[in-house]
């Protein structure tokens, strides 16, 4: 009898728990989306949170691998044309069917959003969309285009019927915010709440949560407090300093995973007179030691990456030797994080004729990446110990990035030695290689974020060739060799570590930590 009773109670408790947990999920988020219009602003939080409402032809899973979504298959049918077969039986939130017209409409609309501060033209330019039948779309490009699938995994598809002629405002108010995604848009009160409701007709099965509530809480201690108080079921952006304490708290479970963001150093390899490279006493010099690959290698060897990870990042980061980590397309097994070797570094410096050392200033942001200012300080100490006295200057990101990109004369980068990060939104190595390491060339769109102005024609050629090679395996090999040249041979940049992101949930939940740092209700798992 007693046994039956307790079994009953346990069963009831389980039912209640499952019922309650599957109803509503409240998530405290660090950064609020800026719009419900999926093409207004190509920005991390928007691309993430709007995936609840809208879907892409191809989606990136939690490890940023490409998976079918609104397209069931895609393949190149000629050198310059890709064919996308669309999923049948998908319905928009207003009940109308999803067809090729919506895809063509989206492609036209996404590049023409008025006042867009960051347009999706980046991924769509040069592509022509053509409807073949209701469930087939052909996309053609002037030249062979291997990144077609990757880039299509960035564009959220909107409904032609609901969004024709719609302005960004119409999306924000909900009128045009019609998607095919697992959740329907309910409301957005800026600064306070974003709310979604379950889409019962979702093609991928019934979504887990009845209601998804996102609460923007930008202050990190408040976000953690909201989690501890049980006001939210999950938070993103758990500060590294709190991780140890939270681990011991039974009210909270942590989910961690490597992100696609690498933290690295750029060194001025262009100017002979670099403004923040001095002699040991701080006087300007006519010669720039950073142009010598041996000096760059020596700097890399002076940096004790495991120590930075352990001490500064509280163990929550992974030492890096290239731009993307192991699971990403284009990662090369031949490049490992540089070993900390002060003796060898010293020898190399001497060989390069800089045995007497020189002075440097490292510039970095202080509110952009996890512990960014502290990392700069740690690096400065390590270099100073290695014979390169280094000063630290950090500043808020809104001041920093302009100066780092074009604060100097003729819009050249202002600094000589800087700390930056790069998140591979496309989930493969070509985009960081192209932006950070190819020769700066405005007309070709190369090296847009190459703030150290690394330049090596051999690497440029490899990247250009990779960007025109449709065959995956051949392209992978090309990207790998480009990385080996740009980072291995040239030390064009010095990778430090990959960030690891931390989410906190209440017990009974687990988050499939996404490499793209997105916080999505779809990736929250209920665990027993």
């Amino acid at each position: 009898m007693r046994k039956t009773f307790s079994a009953l109670v346990a069963g009831a408790a389980l039912l209640i728990a499952a019922g309650a947990s599957a109803q509503e999920i409240r998530i405290g988020i660090a950064q609020e989306p800026s719009s419900i219009d999926p093409h207004y602003h190509n920005l991390g939080p928007n691309n993430g949170f709007l995936s609840h409402i809208y879907e892409r032809l191809i989606q990136q899973d939690s490890k940023q691998r490409l998976k079918p979504a609104l397209a069931v298959s895609w393949k190149p049918i000629s050198e310059t044309v890709w064919e996308f077969k669309l999923r049948k039986g998908v319905k928009w939130h207003d009940g109308s069917p999803f067809t090729a017209d919506d895809v063509v409409f989206t492609a036209e609309r996404a590049v023409n959003v008025p006042n867009s501060p960051s347009s999706f033209g980046t991924y769509l330019k040069g592509k022509t969309f053509k409807k073949i039948d209701d469930y087939t779309v052909h996309v053609s490009t002037p030249n062979p285009y291997p990144l077609m699938a990757t880039e299509m995994s960035t564009i959220l598809i909107i409904s032609k019927k609901a969004a024709e002629g719609a302005q960004t405002k119409d999306f924000n108010l909900g009128k045009a915010a019609i998607g095919t995604g697992p959740y329907k848009f309910v409301k957005w009160q800026k600064g306070d709440i974003v709310e979604f409701a379950r889409n019962d007709d979702y093609w991928g099965g019934k979504p887990k949560w009845g209601r998804v509530i996102l609460k923007p809480i930008s202050s990190a201690p408040t976000r953690v407090a909201a989690m501890l108080a049980g006001d939210v079921d999950m938070i993103d952006g758990v500060p590294t300093a709190d991780i140890e304490t939270l681990k011991k708290n039974s009210k909270v479970k942590l989910s961690q995973g490597i992100s696609n963001r690498v933290i690295y150093l750029h060194m001025d390899q262009n100017r002979d007179k670099s403004p923040f490279v001095t002699d040991k006493d701080g006087n300007p010099m006519d010669k720039n030691p950073l142009k010598d690959v041996r000096v760059r290698k020596a700097i890399s060897m002076m940096i004790n990456r495991p120590a930075i990870v352990e001490r500064v990042m509280e163990g929550v980061a992974i030492p890096a030797g290239q731009l993307v980590s192991k699971t990403f397309f284009g990662h090369t097994p031949n490049l490992n994080p540089e070993k900390h070797d002060p003796a060898a570094a010293k020898k190399l410096l001497k060989e390069a004729g800089w045995g007497g050392g020189f002075g440097l200033t490292i510039h970095g942001p202080n509110n952009r990446y996890i512990n960014d200012a502290k990392i700069c300080e740690a690096i400065a100490q390590m270099l100073t110990r290695g014979g390169i006295p280094t000063k630290v200057v950090t500043m808020p990101k809104n001041v920093y990035f302009k100066r780092a990109s074009r604060g100097g004369p003729d819009k050249s980068p202002e600094f000589s030695f800087i700390l930056v990060g790069w998140g591979s939104g496309t989930g493969e190595a070509s985009s960081p290689l192209k932006s950070l390491l190819t020769t700066y060339d405005k007309s070709k769109g190369h090296g847009a974020s190459n703030r150290g102005r690394h330049s090596n024609p051999k690497m440029d050629a490899l990247v250009v060739k990779a960007l025109a090679t449709v065959d995956d395996e051949k392209r992978r090999a090309l990207l790998q060799s480009a990385t080996e040249v740009g980072i291995g041979e040239d030390q064009g940049i010095i990778p430090l570590h990959y960030q690891v992101n931390t989410w906190a949930t209440r017990p009974g939940l687990r988050y499939d930590a996404r490499t793209d740092e997105r916080t999505l209700a779809m990736d929250i798992q209920i665990v027993k």
């Binding site: 501060p117 960051s118 033209g121 600064g191 930008s218 501890l228 809104n398 405005k442 847009a448």
Partner: protein, 325 residues
């Protein structure tokens, strides 16, 4: 009096114009919004296109002229981030901040004046001294720290109050407000106290000093000699006479309550103007920064005007006229 008000409003136009010039020049000096807004994967061509789309390619004089012409028409520009009129964006957040500010003001008056008077009437008692010591704490503890401590204690440890946000609101005169429901009150309580702490201490000190000064005046002695009840002496004769400094300071400080709300709003995730301005500064959303500061300047002007008018009501000796300074 109406001449006085009209004159003051005309002066305020000049002040606002000078402010716009300063702010516009100031935000132009820090950073470039494009670096905050653009996706890193954009190439140089995309960046240029975005710069053009936001009108940032024009020289600053032209940008300012354009801004000024639109401002005269009542359009303070559109937010780079939200693509909505900056004014509308701020006004939509204003009720939340105003409610918080008024709640804080209300708390500092209803608690501050009685406590201050008590301390003034019983300066050597234990309670009087405790009140004064407490007010020192209110002055000196940084408000973000107090805010976090409040959250840790009331929301995390005791679990009796929500940790932040605004919760459900009720509609009142077309505005969304919190103070009409118990749930709403539970959300506004901590941030309001947090915001009120400094003002409260100020009011306590002012009321105490005022009380101690007034209590020894001849008219109080005379009133007592006439046999007027102590209650009436304190509630009418003393209270009325300590109000002038309190009103002056609270008036002036009300503007700063709204400004200080920036910290409280950020800590408590309160969806008001303060949180908006902090995020706008972070992202260099220039139109919102400029519009916000101009609204704040305008508000200070209005508050000062109201304080001047209140003076003449409280103290018949004061006449409203232009002081040539």
């Amino acid at each position: 009096m109406s001449v006085f008000i009209i004159r003051r409003l005309l002066q305020s136009v000049v002040v606002i114009w000078v402010m716009s010039l300063l702010v516009f020049g100031g935000v132009y000096l820090i950073g470039d919004p494009i670096d905050m807004l653009i996706n890193p994967e954009a190439d140089q061509e995309d960046i240029d296109a975005a710069i053009r789309a936001l009108g940032l390619d024009k020289p600053i004089t032209e940008q300012y002229w354009f801004f000024l012409i639109n401002a005269v028409k009542g359009d303070l520009g559109s937010s780079f981030i939200f693509n909505e009129p900056a004014l509308q964006l701020i006004l939509a957040r204003m009720p939340a901040t105003m409610e918080l500010a008024f709640a804080a003001l209300f708390l500092s008056i209803v608690l501050g004046i009685p406590l201050g008077m008590w301390a003034g009437l019983h300066p050597n008692s234990l309670s009087g001294r405790s009140i004064m010591t407490g007010s020192i704490l209110g002055f000196s503890l940084p408000s973000f720290w107090v805010g976090i401590m409040f959250i840790m204690f009331f929301a995390v440890v005791l679990g009796v109050l929500p940790s932040g946000g605004r919760g459900e609101t009720t509609e009142f005169l077309g505005l969304q407000v919190s103070f009409l429901s118990w749930k709403g009150l539970s959300y506004i309580l901590l941030p309001a106290i947090n915001l009120a702490l400094f003002k409260l201490s100020l009011v306590i000190r002012l009321s105490r000093a005022g009380t101690q000064e007034v209590i020894h005046q001849d008219y109080i002695k005379f009133a007592r000699a006439k046999g007027i009840s102590e209650k009436r002496v304190i509630l009418v004769h003393v209270l009325k006479n300590i109000m002038i400094p309190v009103v002056t300071i609270l008036g002036l400080e009300f503007g700063s309550v709204i400004a200080f709300a920036v910290v409280t709003e950020t800590v408590f995730a309160w969806p008001g103007m303060g949180k908006l301005i902090i995020e706008s500064i972070d992202q260099l959303d220039r139109p919102v920064i400029v519009a916000y500061l101009m609204i704040i300047v305008f508000m200070f002007i209005v508050i000062n005007l109201v304080v001047d008018i209140l003076y003449s009501v409280l103290d018949p000796r004061v006449r409203l006229q232009d002081v040539k300074a």
